[in-house]
Structures are given as structure tokens and as C-alpha cells.
Symmetry: C2
Subunit: 599 residues, 2 copies
């Protein structure tokens, strides 16, 4: 078995014969970026060989790596299988991710499903040695209870506290514990997971915690993860479930420790997620979501015993899963539509959650229509040659003038790459200064005077053209391919936008508000959204940011049984339009790919 | 770590420092008899040291071992802690246990709770991508189903078969599987476990399997196991649960393989057991059963998901647990009373299940009263100096005449020890020939003429008297202590018998039938039961053997929902009398200890 020494981590690992280096590194907890999940297509899993030999550079690596990189010993981990002892260094470090957790929330009456009540249990005697179950039923005034409660009894005589979910008894605790009653609100996004620990008595958020979705190791987008589960029929589904459950458990533990709350006093976990994430969480087959006709296994809200899926909390803790509408309009969007009160408004409102999928809901006088557009991960900084997540070192804004290029970098550090808002800002600027044409191509360099300030910014290498964002030792550039990625995202979202308007027979000027949800959305300023023509210029002044409305919806469901009922009613009411199946969609999409306002 | 080589098994094991030899042997799967569970009181865990040294013989060993044994290197495994490498041999081998499985059963209408129905599930389309859950609910004509069904779907489009428990959907299978529908009936005794694989279409028993209750390693009787669970708060309860669950799973696997039935087509497991065994099975605290006022955690019938307790079967398989009456009148006795139709008869019937606990139910014109007597394990051949289980080599009957001693041995092999029926037969004979007095003591040897055929049968060693059952190289004898054990059992059962009659204001001659249940009972002939005065002579001709009525009750419950309802009603109706709390019981018990008919 070859030995691998990772110099920058000072770590030595062993390589199973025949396994590629990416697998070996990930299996040993060494971070390597791998958006395509080891398919040899993203070119991100770069490592540098320092000592020893690896098999010859493959054709795929030649396409994905620059000459200088190859000269410096850079290789793609997923494409090499070590045959002897080597020494390498990894080229990325996982950076702390900044995740937005605040957001808009309407007023509502707090009435959580979880409640507590002090009961008195009779002590058994020799004359009347009543079974504990019977004494408990007697104290509760009911005939039956869930037998599993009997597995985890406290001593339980005299004064005890019953924990209820609605009218279901879900726990018995010794003494009076009515003061300790907590819940957790969760938003599971494909990319990030956000949680909040809530005091159910007051509705106060006692702590919050978030992380990148640990399922990212199975692929960055929903479809790659579904493929992973399909390709590993033995336990892929279980792995995906355990990964998110373990992630959630660690966040819960983190919050409990911050707020000095016992896990045993968490009685409900309310979860908003897209439909695929919800299937993964419950260990339910996602294959039907990934293939036409995209019928999920379930969309209805679920009430689940936390321990049935391995989530930690009180022994009888429940999990509430918000309802979805369809495979591609999940509980996160139902939450968003609810939080924005789309169905209660008499206005014409458009709600967009911008992420790898752009989900759009149009409300016309209280009637809701939705669609989902495969935007791809470009707007999140993925599939972009120098893209990265919104972490320290990411360029989040760009201004290009004849005085030079101004970069705004997260954490005010040296720029390392471009996050989603950064790439949008660049494209907007490139369109504005005329370096990119209507069809998305760079202009020819010869069209520019050599004295033009833009002239040195465009580099031509054979047929390849690239915009130089930053020169020097660690250069950053925007390739034609990068522009295409943004263009595809723009085409997808804008065509969904227009298709919904058309379906509702609304003119764009009749829209009262455009509500941008999601953490990526919150980082995409109106001028970028409009400047890149993801949204039409007509809505510029109508844009509102509503924050993480998915988490807000989960919170509201946790704090009110009526909200749960209304969410479930809303999910049933919402129409879903499958863009691919709608008439004339392909033509609309082609039109929307154009940068209409480009010079 | 000392090495231990077990010569007769050709097995080498390692001994954790500080652990006694019994623990080490049991942990490594080496069979050593240990009725007292390593408490150093039964003297059964004998091994012989062949090579190496063990610490000096302790006082306890001196009391429990014979001089010849000590001279031959015999030691008690629970009392020695190896300090160096040794070579030993074990002195018992686990013998095949003969367990009676047939029995009496009344007529009843078969109407099992489990049924199957073919359903048609609509395929989703792009126009109508219905979630699978919704299509299923539609086909079933219902609003909801257990979400956990969705975790384990077959492909499930077109023709599928729904599996129902009553009206609950518990499984979905591809195609028409209505022909394959099985269940399992189980009797969990403290000592033995008996199972039968049943075709739910016909009620036929396709296979049966049985084993000694694998929990025996935690103690032979209920109280020792409860103590084990208490003394190991971290995971004792879980160990006890897992042990019985694994045992049942292996029996189920065995039967499935014999009958060529798939585990996946077992949908219900119906279980009769005493109250403590049922608590262990469900992983519920048994501590309250072991201490006054003996109030169990539950007695009511339970419907449990098999997978919630780790039992194997179809994914959605259910477990039905028969109801108990009290801590010491369990579902096995409710089953027996039901099978014997005690509550339907207008006669005066007495039902006795003879085992470690003797449970007695008296039916007077359909009114049922019950009590439980701590008979101890003597009648099962335990706590008897040369006692053993009813296995090959056990003496099961004895006749003593002036011509000598005639032994009937199970398997017609050389006698190794006495099983329950054998010890009863000996005591009956000793009473008959006048070697044991009213008070249970041996007569003094000097009261016999030296020419009396009985004279050589009584050996006196200081104050100790012993009856020589078999002389020679491997002698077998009955000690005064052995007689006391039987006497205690007799006193317990007979006093329970009389206490119930007194409570019901019935004279013994008014009894119409005495029904003996249980596998031990079935091996105890009427002349032994009456001859040892466990039962009064008046009932000699009224004794009926009903076999394993516990298993029969489990079978009937499996095959009929009405039987389940009637069992539950019966358990509620049955009165329970706590002997220890009843007036004048101690005096009655003292009277019943006497062998009234002894010379």
C-alpha cells in the first residue's frame, strides 16, 4: 500500500491499491474541493506532487490544467491513482463560511405544538400494584399511549411532567420541568444548513449555528447527490442520510452548549428543506426526483420521531418536515411564500429564491404559481474557473473604470477567487463597458484601440480570450466559459420569470414587488441582478430582500400549530408549472440567453 | 494476559487480568453450567485444571466440592481468577434439550389480523407528476399512511400488493404477492423459547424451532436476571433485550430455511411470555417487578413494530405481545386460561403452570382468580446437587423396591443427573418407602435394621445423610438439601392451591378438573405430583395435561383478531391474589410444607 504524506498538513495516510487520490484524501478527512464529485470534469481537486512519481498526465488533466500548473507538478486528485509512496501538498483550505441568518418575518400568534403539564402519578401498593402504564393513563385521562415511552421512564412516581405534542404524550419527566421547553428551527439547503435553538415559552432564539451541508462530499448539487445514491445502491442512501443527520446533531450540540440547554429538553425540530434534501433526511429514495417525470416519493408534511432518523433531542422528540409542492418546489419555497404572505396579498408579487435551482413563485391576487429553473451553481461561485464560495478572500464586488479595477474582498484580505456576487459584478461590468456582446461573447481585441484602457484587460491566447481581473503572481481571470455559465443561469431564471408572467397573463409593469430570498440572493445587489439581466430593468425599484425565509418558515411552524396547518394548505394550493413541458419554452429560453442591453 | 487452553474443545482463549474464569469462558462461548450466575452458591461451574497453577482452593469451594473432586483438580470457575497460563477441561457439554411443543387447542374461527390486497398504482406523468405517497393513498382510498413505509418501497408502480394489519397498511410489495403470507407464534419462557412458523392463509404450522432461553447466561430465574439488569445500569437492560431478540431471530431464520419461506414474508410475530420476559423483550425496566409492591411497568397487550425491537421479518412486520394480569401472572398464563376456556366453562377448574414460578388460576363458574407461588427451580432439576435439565442422560423416573433401584434415563444413556421429573420421582419413592419423614428429614439410619434393603441406600457422613441413587465411579445421591428444595416447591404450590380454594370458598371435592400446563408440567406424572403432595390426593383422577398452552395461545392470537380481543378482555377480568399479602398465608405455607402422608 503506497504511503501518502501531505506536507502542509503534516499528515501521513495509506492509499488502498487502485483507489484514486481524491477518494483516499476525502476518506482520510483531508479537504480537497471537488464540485463534480470526482467525475474529472470540474478541474478543482488540484494537489501538487512534491516527492515521488505519479502516472503520466492524462489528456483530461491537460485540458483542465494550465501549462504553468502542470510544470509546477499540479495534478487533479480524482484522475491519478498512486502506485508508490509520494509526498504532496493540497492547494485549498476550507475557509469559514459566512452565512446570513436574519430575515423578514410577519406577525403571528405563538401557539407551539409542544406543551408540558404537571401530573400526579399514584404510587402502587401491595393491595393495588397498578402497572405504571395504567397509572399514567389514569393521570392523563386517556386509554392508551405510545408503548415506546415506557422504554425511557424516569423514576416517575409522585409529581411528574408530561410532555405533549398536540394531544400526543411524547415524554414523562420526574418532577416539575415545565420551565425547560425548547425546539430547533432548521433550514437545510443544498449548500448550507442553518439552525436556531428556540425557547418555546418565549419564542426567543437562544443560539444559532450553521455549516456547509456536509453532503457536499457527495456532490455540490442535488443531481450529483442523487447519482451518488443510485450508484451506491448498498448504502448510498444511508450514507447521505447519516451525513446530514450527523451534521444537524453537531449543530444542535453546539447550540445547546452555547445556550447551556440540555439536548433532553429539545422536543421538536422543525425543518424546511428542498424536496430532495427532505427525502435524503428521511432516508427515502430520491431516484424518481432525478428522472422524468420528476415525481417525488412524497411532498406532504411529515411528523417523525427524531430517533427514527437518528436526530438527537428528548427521547420522544418529534421532527416536523415542512410540506413541498413538487420535486423542485420544496418546503423551503413553501416557507418563503408563507413568510412573504403571498397568498394573503391582493398585490401581484414575485418571489425568487436564487440558488443552484432558481425557484420562482408568482402571486396574482392570492393565486400562486411556481416554477423551478436549473440555474446551475454559477451564481454561487461554482463552475467558474476562479470561483469560490462566499468566504474570506472572495471578491464580492468589482468596479471597472478607466482608472483601473477596484475589488471588494470579503474579510479585506488578498483576493483568492470570486464568489457569486463577485462573478455577477464582473459580468455586469463587462457588459457595461462593452467587453461582452449581446450573445455573451467577448469582443475581438482588434476592435479596441491599443490606447483604450480596456485593451490590456483582454488577453488573447490563440482562440481563447480572457478578461484579466488581477495580474501578477496569482492572477485571476474571467474566461469565455465563465461568462457562458452566468449566461445559462440568467437564461434559466429570466425565462422562468417570463413564463410565469405569461401563464398568469400579467405584464411586467403590473408586478408590485419582487422578493429575493435565500442567502445567495441576499448577496446579489439589485444593480447586479438587473445589470446582468437576470431580472429585467423594469423591476429595479421593486426588489425587496427577505433573507432566509426558509428558516423563518421553519421557526414559525415550530412556534405555531396554526402556521403548520396554513403551510400545509398553502402547499396544496400552489400550482406548479414544469417549464420543460410548457409550450414555447425553448424559444423563450433562447431569447432570455441574450444580453439585450449589451452594446 | 494469561492464556487458557481448553483441552476437550481444542480451544485457546485469552483471559483479561482480574476476570474470573467463568466470565472468561462464557464470554468466549465455552459452555459451563452456572445456575447461580457466578454467585458462588450453586457449585455447578466445575472445570478441571490439567496444567499450570490456580490460586489456592477457597473455603467456598471446599464447601461445594467433594474431596475426591478437589483431589482430581476440579475447581469452580466462578471462584478462581487465573494468574498464569493454564490448561483445563470443562466437565459438562450442552446437551440437546427436548422441548414439548404439542398441546390442547379449542376450536376457533380463523381470522388473522394480517391480510393482503392487490392495488393498482397510477404511473406519474410529466403533466401529473403525483408523489408516490399520494398515488398510494389514492389507491387505498385513505388520507394518510405511516411515513416509514416510504423508506422501503419496492419499485411499486402498476400492480402492487398492500399488506395490512387490521386496517393499517404495513407494507407495499411489487406485483401480486398474496400467496405469501406468514406469521410466527412464540412462547418465551424463563427457561425455554418455543417458536412456530405459521401459514396465515391456512393456519398450518410449517416449521417449529426451540432453544433454551439464551438469557440463561444472566441467571436461570427471573430475579437473577432482574438483578443483572439492575447491577449493570449502563447496558444490562439492552443486553438482556438483545440476547432474547437475537435468539428469536436465529429461531426464525432456522424455521424459514426449513420451510423455504422468506423472512420478508413474515408479517406478524405473536408472543406469549411471562411479564418479566415481556419487559425484557421490549427493553422496559424490570426493577419494579423485583421489589415490593411488585407493580410492573405495563401489563396491557402491545402492538409493536418488529424493527423497533430488532426482530426480523418484513420491514413493516408487527409484534403482538399478549396481555399480562400482573407482575407474576403473565401473558403465558392468560394464554393458558384462554386455551383451557376457563372463563367459558360452568365447571370449577384449576389451571397450574408448573415452573420456577407456579402460577395457578382457579375458575369458579367463569370467575377467574389467580396467584403465583415462588416454587423455585427444583422442579426443573435446578438447585439440586445432581440436578440437570431434561436432556439426554437425565434420570426422568425412578422406582425403588427391595430388588434395587430402577432408573429411566432420557435417551437410554448412562445416567448423568436428575431432571425435574426424576427428582420428584425420587422424593415420591423416598416418602413411599419411609426414608423421608413428615417434616422432610431423612430417618435416622439406626432406625433401620442392617438387613433392611433400605439400609445400604442411606449414607451417613457425620451429621450429613444422603440417599445413594447410584454408586460406583460416578455416584449420584440425594442430599437433605435436595429434599428441602422439593419441599419448598411443594409448600409454595400447595399453599397457593389451598389459598385460592379458600378465597373462592370451594371445597377440594368441588373441583372438576386440574389442568397442568407447561413443558415441565407435562413431564410430571400424576403419581409424582400427588405422591410428593404437590397436589392433594383428591385430585389424582382429575388431572389433565394441556401441553404448552402459552404457545397455543400465541398461535390463536396470531390467527384471529377476535382471540386477541378475548385475551385482552380475559386479562382484565382475571383477579390476582398476592399470596404474601393474604391473611393467614404464612401458617398455610408452614402446613403445606409437611409431607402429610409420610409414615
Amino acid at each position: 500500500m503506497p504511503d501518502i504524506f501531505i506536507t502542509n498538513e503534516g499528515k501521513r495516510i495509506q492509499c488502498d491499491p487502485g483507489k484514486d487520490l481524491l477518494q483516499v484524501l476525502l476518506a482520510n478527512g483531508v479537504f480537497v474541493d471537488n464540485p463534480c464529485n470526482g467525475k474529472g470534469s470540474c478541474g478543482k481537486c488540484k494537489i501538487r506532487l512534491l516527492q515521488g512519481q505519479l502516472p503520466a498526465v492524462s489528456e483530461t488533466e491537460k485540458k483542465l490544467l494550465k501549462k504553468e500548473e502542470m510544470a509546477a507538478g499540479v495534478r487533479l486528485a480524482c484522475l491519478v491513482v498512486p502506485e508508490e509512496d509520494i509526498e504532496i501538498e493540497t492547494l485549498q483550505t476550507e475557509r469559514k463560511h459566512e452565512i446570513l441568518t436574519a430575515g423578514y418575518m410577519p406577525d403571528f400568534r405563538m401557539n407551539p405544538g409542544i406543551s408540558k403539564k404537571v401530573l400526579h402519578i399514584e404510587k402502587p401498593t401491595l393491595e393495588n400494584p397498578s402497572p405504571y402504564e395504567d397509572s399514567l393513563c389514569h393521570a392523563l385521562g386517556r386509554k392508551d399511549l405510545d408503548w415506546r415511552l415506557l422504554q425511557h421512564l424516569d423514576t416517575g412516581e409522585g409529581k411528574v411532567t408530561g410532555v405533549f405534542n398536540g394531544t400526543d404524550l411524547i415524554g414523562i419527566e420526574t418532577g416539575d420541568t415545565t420551565a425547560l421547553i425548547y425546539g430547533v428551527a432548521v433550514d437545510i439547503g443544498t449548500t448550507t444548513v442553518v439552525t436556531a435553538l428556540i425557547d418555546l415559552k418565549t419564542g426567543d432564539e437562544l443560539a444559532s449555528a450553521s455549516m456547509l451541508n456536509p453532503q457536499k462530499k457527495f456532490g455540490l448539487d442535488v443531481l450529483t447527490r442523487i447519482s451518488y445514491s443510485l450508484e451506491n445502491p448498498a448504502d448510498g442512501r444511508k450514507e447521505l442520510q447519516q451525513t446530514i443527520v450527523e451534521g444537524l446533531n453537531s449543530l444542535i450540540e453546539d447550540m445547546c452548549s452555547k445556550a447551556a440547554v440540555s439536548r433532553q429538553n429539545i422536543y421538536e425540530i422543525s425543518i424546511a428543506a428542498n424536496c430532495t434534501m427532505m427525502h435524503f433526511l428521511l432516508g427515502i429514495d430520491t431516484a424518481p426526483i432525478g428522472r422524468s417525470p420528476y415525481a417525488p416519493v412524497f411532498v406532504k408534511a411529515k411528523n417523525v420521531m427524531a430517533r427514527d432518523i437518528g436526530l438527537q433531542g428528548a427521547t420522544g422528540a418529534r421532527v416536523y418536515c415542512l410540506p413541498s409542492v413538487s420535486s423542485y418546489i420544496g418546503g423551503d419555497i413553501v416557507a418563503g411564500a408563507y413568510v412573504c404572505q403571498l397568498e394573503k396579498s391582493r398585490e401581484n408579487l414575485l418571489f425568487i429564491d436564487i440558488g443552484t435551482n432558481g425557484e420562482i413563485v408568482l402571486a396574482k391576487n392570492g393565486r400562486l404559481m411556481s416554477c423551478s429553473c436549473a440555474a446551475g451553481p454559477a451564481l454561487e461561485g461554482m463552475n467558474i474557473s476562479c470561483g469560490m464560495r462566499a468566504a474570506v478572500g472572495a471578491i464580492e464586488d468589482v468596479a471597472i473604470t478607466d482608472g483601473g479595477i477596484e475589488l471588494k474582498v470579503i474579510g479585506d484580505e488578498a483576493p483568492v477567487g470570486l464568489c457569486g456576487s463577485g462573478i455577477l459584478a464582473v459580468v455586469k461590468e463587462l457588459l457595461r463597458i462593452g467587453l461582452v456582446k449581446k450573445n455573451g461573447s467577448f469582443i475581438k481585441k482588434e476592435e479596441l484601440e491599443e490606447t483604450d484602457y480596456r485593451y490590456p484587460l483582454l488577453r488573447v491566447d490563440g482562440k481563447k480570450r480572457e478578461f484579466i481581473l488581477k495580474d501578477g503572481q496569482e492572477p485571476l481571470g474571467i474566461t469565455q466559459g465563465d461568462i457562458r455559465q452566468v449566461q445559462l443561469a440568467k437564461g434559466a431564471i429570466l425565462s422562468g420569470f417570463h413564463a410565469l408572467l405569461r401563464q398568469a397573463e400579467l405584464h411586467i409593469n403590473q408586478l408590485d414587488k419582487v422578493m429575493i430570498a435565500g442567502q445567495f440572493g441576499a448577496h446579489l445587489p439589485a444593480d447586479s441582478l438587473v445589470g446582468t439581466e437576470i431580472l429585467p430593468a423594469e423591476v429595479t425599484d421593486k426588489i425587496h430582500y427577505v433573507g432566509n425565509s426558509s428558516k423563518t418558515g421553519a421557526y414559525m411552524a415550530l412556534m405555531s400549530v396554526e402556521v403548520k396547518q396554513e403551510l400545509e394548505a398553502l402547499a396544496k394550493q400552489m400550482d406548479y408549472m414544469e417549464l420543460g413541458a410548457s409550450a414555447g419554452y425553448e424559444r423563450l429560453f433562447a431569447q432570455c440567453l441574450q444580453f439585450e442591453k449589451a452594446r
